[in-house]
Amino acid sequence: MYSDDILRYSFSILRDYEEAKDMVQEVFIRHFENEQSFKGACSYKTWLLIITRNLFYSKIKSKSFTNERVDEELNDSVFEVNYEINISIKDALMKIPSEYSELLYLKEAEGYSYEEISQITETSLDNVAVRLHRAKKMLRKILKDRY
């Protein structure tokens, strides 16, 4: 039912269609395995997105990736971007950290409030606001030649 939403959300994190599709499968598998644990504290869709997110991070851990979460201390200069003329929004989204594109997806495509996003991402409201601001700031930087 929400496979498209999960696929889009997965894509916003992974930025790869094939991996996103695999992720959707795994999300549904996990969903069926843990269906009884759904307590109704959030909407069903939100719950599926939380599963997606948890799965993503558990995969990263299992692969021993160095998942450096972007936090308040992140300096924009840490993330090197190549300034290109006429860069598309898609390319720009590929250039920012997945933690940012994920938030942008939840906010702009899904229309979740900061509170709902903080629930999904298990972070504070302020953190969501700050990171979304940085995401837009970063996109603006990347796209600035276009504007």
């Binding site: 496979s3 889009r8 499968q25 795994e26 702009e108 495509a109 900061y114 504007y147």
Partner: protein, 242 residues
């Protein structure tokens, strides 16, 4: 001069408190740079929204190009593959059982018929009369419920074999169910007796509701077929809709 970059970000998301909106508006009136930021953030918001919302159409394109054909189905398959992994492995080891058992039954039937024919030919040479199997056919045509001793003899032999095969088929219902997503599997149930035909016809309708493709043909007498298939379905906890 202080700029309101962060507040503008909140403002475009409708997350800026009302009391701060007034302050922001006052600032924007006199700050060209922040107006540009507002314009850019609005543009980014719209483009990001449009990009992600248009993703399903890209997915459809992918479907058309065959990259993700039967996407939802693959999800379901993935679920089954994971949760029923052991059963599927077991099924894969045995999936050739049904065609093999069907072939074995056919060979037994041919051999039985050949024995019967051979016996009748000998009778014909001995007595010079009409072959017994022809009489049987004539008799069967005139009275469908009457079988010749020869046919019974063959039937007894084939019945045992086919009963065993049928039991195995019925026992394999769970495995069929496991992979019935492909709708490739046909549960073939065969019988002779017209009474059993009727009983099976009733089951055919019931089995349809379980999602199986079921075909029936006359083959062997199997008195406790109803009980076997009922218990098999019950064992697998399948819903039978009457």
């Amino acid at each position: 001069m202080k700029h309101y970059d962060y507040e503008i970000s909140l403002f475009v998301e409708d997350e800026l408190p009302d009391e701060q909106i007034t302050l922001l508006n006052m600032h924007l009136a006199g700050c060209k740079s922040c107006r540009q930021v507002l314009s850019d953030y609005m543009e980014i918001k719209n483009e990001v929204s449009k990009f992600y919302k248009n993703l399903p159409s890209d997915i459809q394109e992918l479907n058309q190009s065959g990259l993700s054909t039967n996407f939802n189905r693959s999800i379901i398959k993935g679920i089954h593959k994971n949760s029923l992994n052991t059963e599927i492995k077991s099924f894969r080891r045995k999936k050739f059982f049904i065609p093999v058992s069907a072939a074995a039954s056919f060979i037994i039937a041919v051999l039985a018929f050949w024995n019967l024919w051979h016996h009748d030919i000998q009778d014909t040479f001995k007595s010079g009369s009409t072959p017994a199997f022809q009489k049987d056919i004539e008799q069967t045509t005139s009275n469908k419920n009457t079988y010749s001793p020869h046919l019974y003899a063959a039937e007894d032999q084939t019945t045992r074999e086919s009963t065993r095969a049928l039991k195995d088929q019925v026992e394999s219902i769970k495995r069929l169910k496991t992979d019935s997503l492909d709708n490739n599997y046909v549960l073939t149930v065969e019988c002779f007796n017209e009474e059993i035909d009727k009983a099976i016809a009733a089951h055919k309708d019931r089995l349809k509701n379980t999602g199986y493709l079921v075909s029936f043909s006359r083959y062997s007498e199997f008195e406790d077929f109803n009980a076997v298939i009922d218990s098999a379905l019950l064992k697998q906890n399948l819903q039978i809709l009457n």
